[in-house]
């Protein structure tokens, strides 16, 4: 009993993701991340053209647009994953709580711990389920002992809605799970390092409808605890899970606003055409 209580205490100290706590650090209305006049080039080709956008803590933001419109590229700029592409070059200004993430003093390792990412294809490491979740806490030294690590693993899996399915087989390989479970494992893995922002790059495009519904449900539950940005091909999905929607076309941000407005009453002709299926 005593142990249980201790574990709960430590959970509070590690996971400062309670809506109440996070609300204090970023009052609603103050954007969590801001991007101003961002341009991205791949070699000579310009992939993103002058995009400015704010991401809020209390809403899920969806990026929609036809293939090749730059929405994933822009998403990858937000935790500097584009650094891994040698020919990619970025200008403009992206800030996380006011700190320029491309400033020389910004440590990319710290940045990515604060801005987590979930990929299009589930990519669990070829390790046990436990080690997959414990990976981030271990490299960032978030747990001081085995007990604390156990607790992080359990609470992350619980938040990702996977705990009841895997609690008896934490030592099985993460790659042995089904596609939907793997993706939730990846979300749990991202949650485990207690990020402030979670970027999701078409997280459901490789999943069946039932697994997709579970992920969408999970996004609903995580809303408010993390600033969530989701890139999706699927407009219905954007309408279901997001409160704000950004429509990208040919590397430019055409329209950004409340999801309900974008889908019912878009300001731009292009957005209307895309929403109504004129092209895409």
């Amino acid at each position: 009993m005593n142990d249980d209580k201790k574990m709960q205490e430590s959970s509070e100290s590690i996971n400062m993701t309670d809506p109440a706590t996070t609300g204090a650090t970023s009052e609603s209305g103050t954007p969590k991340m801001t991007a101003r006049n961002v341009n991205v080039f791949y070699g000579d080709k310009q992939a993103i053209n002058d995009v400015s956008i704010d991401v809020n803590m209390d809403s899920v933001t969806a990026f929609i647009g036809p293939s090749g419109c730059g929405k994933s590229t822009f998403l990858r700029c937000m935790n500097r994953m584009n650094d891994t592409i040698p020919i990619a070059r970025i200008t403009g200004d992206i800030r996380l709580e006011g700190d320029d993430i491309y400033a020389p003093q910004m440590d990319v390792v710290q940045l990515r711990a604060r801005v987590g990412m979930v990929f299009q294809k589930p990519n669990p490491f070829p390790k046990s389920i436990y080690d997959n979740i414990a990976y981030g806490p271990r490299i960032h030294g978030l747990a001081t002992g085995k007990e604390e690590l156990d607790h992080i693993v359990e609470s992350s899996l619980q938040r990702a809605g996977l705990w009841s399915e895997v609690k008896d087989r934490l030592q099985d390989s993460g790659t042995a799970l089904s596609g939907g479970q793997q993706q939730r494992l990846c979300i749990a893995r991202a949650i485990a390092v207690d990020p402030e922002v979670i970027l999701m790059d078409e997280p459901c495009s490789a999943l069946d409808p039932i697994a997709t519904a579970k992920i969408e449900e999970l996004i609903h539950e995580l809303r408010g605890q993390y600033a969530i940005v989701i890139v999706t091909h699927n407009m219905q999905q954007a309408a279901r899970v997001s409160q704000k929607t950004a429509f990208f076309h040919l590397g430019t941000l055409v329209e950004y606003g409340e999801t309900t407005d974008i889908f019912t009453n878009p300001r731009e002709e292009k957005t209307r055409d895309y929403i109504t299926g004129r092209y895409g």
Binding site: T84, P86, V109, F119, F125, Y135, G136, T175
Partner: protein, 461 residues
């Protein structure tokens, strides 16, 4: 007419047959409905069809005939009146006959034995007689089979299908030759080894600790064939010292090349590393013997190991390790590159640094491939000969001192089989037993390595 000219004649006739076959097919080549030809196959295929029919049966006949005719010739020569003077049976008779045959074929000019000279004429007659029969039969076959095939040319003859089948058979034959040769080598090793083990007990050989094959005394109960020192020396050089050098260096260079190197550097460095694999092993051998070994001995002496030999396990092992680096590196390179990049991105997106990602995600994921590569490298190292012959020495020491001289299985095989030897002494046959052990070990290593690599590949595709 010699068999070579006959062969060329048959091939020439085959070309003529090709021409006629094609001609006939081209004559049949009229337009049917629409633009489609009435011929099932193009005229060329019909040409090949006739040509193959003309050449192949006749060639097979000639091959069979060349095996059968010598005994027919000998029989005919012995039935001649001149053969009556020959001694009945025994060594002399055989010698005379073979001498006569050699003169008759023109391999030899003068006879030592006048009796052989008298046998030359009957031999010559028999030879020309049977050669004539063979040639006529072969040419008849060319004509008969060629005409048969030519007559079969009709618009609906599926010549193309048949030619495709022949092509397939030729390719199959080509691939079988390698396999059959390997099986043949293996069988010869097994038979010679069995002869060896009839003279020396397998237990003494496999578990004996004294290797001194020169001490052979009698036909039974020999000692000095204990191969353990050789096995130890092989493992010590090829699997221990060489791998201590090759595994870290190969792995680290693979990591650098796949993960850190700029594309331009990689495009230079990889081919250079692969060239290293193409350096003849004899070059490594004298590098080991003339440069590395003396340097190591001097070093050993300078740190107080006065017993250091000029031929040392360390010199051979280190150079062999360097030779193996490209293998380990390119296998590791392939398996690291085969780890999906989503894995790497996943780890980086968690805030892991580059080296943490490599250490904790890429290497573990690539490990089976790396292990497979190392096993292949070991199997190559223990079969390697030139370096150890030149640098490891001949003394069969059982020692873990890297500065002393040891010997390996391959070195001893070279020792046993160079120079004059008789092929029924256990000393020579021991080489086959050693070869068989080496063959089995490398085969097993390769099998395990390929299985490991394959299993790993399945996991990601």
């Amino acid at each position: 007419m010699t068999s070579t000219t006959l062969l060329f004649l048959v091939i020439g006739l085959g070309l003529v047959a090709w021409f006629f076959g094609r001609l006939k097919a081209a004559g049949l080549h009229t337009r049917g409905k629409g633009s489609r030809s009435v011929l099932h196959s193009l005229p060329n295929y019909h040409g090949w069809y006739v040509a193959l029919w003309a050449i192949v049966p006749a060639t097979i006949f000639m091959m069979v005939w060349s095996f059968v005719s010598p005994s027919l010739i000998t029989d005919a020569a012995l039935n001649s009146p001149a053969a009556a003077q020959l001694p009945q049976g025994g060594f002399a008779r055989g010698a005379i006959l073979s001498e006569a045959r050699a003169i008759a074929y023109g391999h030899q000019v003068n006879a030592f034995n006048p009796l052989s000279q008298s046998m030359v004429t009957p031999y010559r007659e028999a030879i020309s007689y049977y050669q004539m029969i063979g040639a006529v039969a072969a040419l008849l076959m060319v004509f008969a089979c060629g005409v048969y095939a030519w007559l079969r040319i009709k618009p609906d003859l599926r010549a193309r299908t048949k030619i495709e089948r022949v092509t397939m058979m030729v390719l199959l034959l080509a691939s079988l030759i390698a396999i059959v040769t390997t099986v043949g080598i293996f069988l010869s090793l097994v038979f010679e080894t069995a002869r060896f083990f009839s003279m020396v007990s397998p237990i003494d050989f496999l578990f004996g600790t004294e290797w001194n094959p020169k001490a052979v005394a009698g036909p039974r109960g020999e000692t000095g064939f204990g191969a353990i020192p050789l096995f130890w020396g092989t493992v010590f050089i090829g699997a221990i010292i060489a791998m201590i050098v090759a595994i870290p260096l190969g792995l680290m260079s693979a990591i650098y090349l796949t993960q850190y190197a700029p594309a331009k550097f990689r495009s230079w460095m990889k081919p250079i590393l692969e060239v290293l694999a193409g350096v003849p092993t004899v070059v490594y051998g004298y590098f080991a013997a003339l440069t590395v070994a003396p340097a190591l001995r001097d070093f050993a002496v300078s740190i107080g190991i006065t017993s250091a030999s000029s031929e040392s396990a360390l010199a051979a092992g280190v150079v062999m390790g360097i030779m193996i680096i490209p293998f380990v590196s390119s296998m590791a390179d392939d398996s690291i590159a085969a780890v999906p990049s989503s894995m790497r991105d996943g780890s980086l997106a968690m805030g892991a640094t580059h080296s943490e990602t490599i250490k904790k995600v890429l290497i573990p994921a690539a490990l089976p491939g790396v292990v497979g590569g190392v096993l292949l490298a070991v199997s190559r190292a223990i079969g390697e000969t030139m370096i150890v012959v030149m640098a490891a020495g001949l003394a069969a020491n059982m020692t873990a001192n890297p500065f002393s001289s040891v010997t390996t299985v391959t070195t001893q095989i070279v020792q046993l089989l160079t120079g004059d030897q008789e092929f029924d002494s256990p000393k020579t046959l021991a080489a086959f037993a050693l070869g068989l052990v080496l063959f089995i070990v490398t085969l097993l290593l390769n099998l395990i390595a390929l299985r490991v690599v394959k299993k790993y590949r399945e996991a990601y595709e």
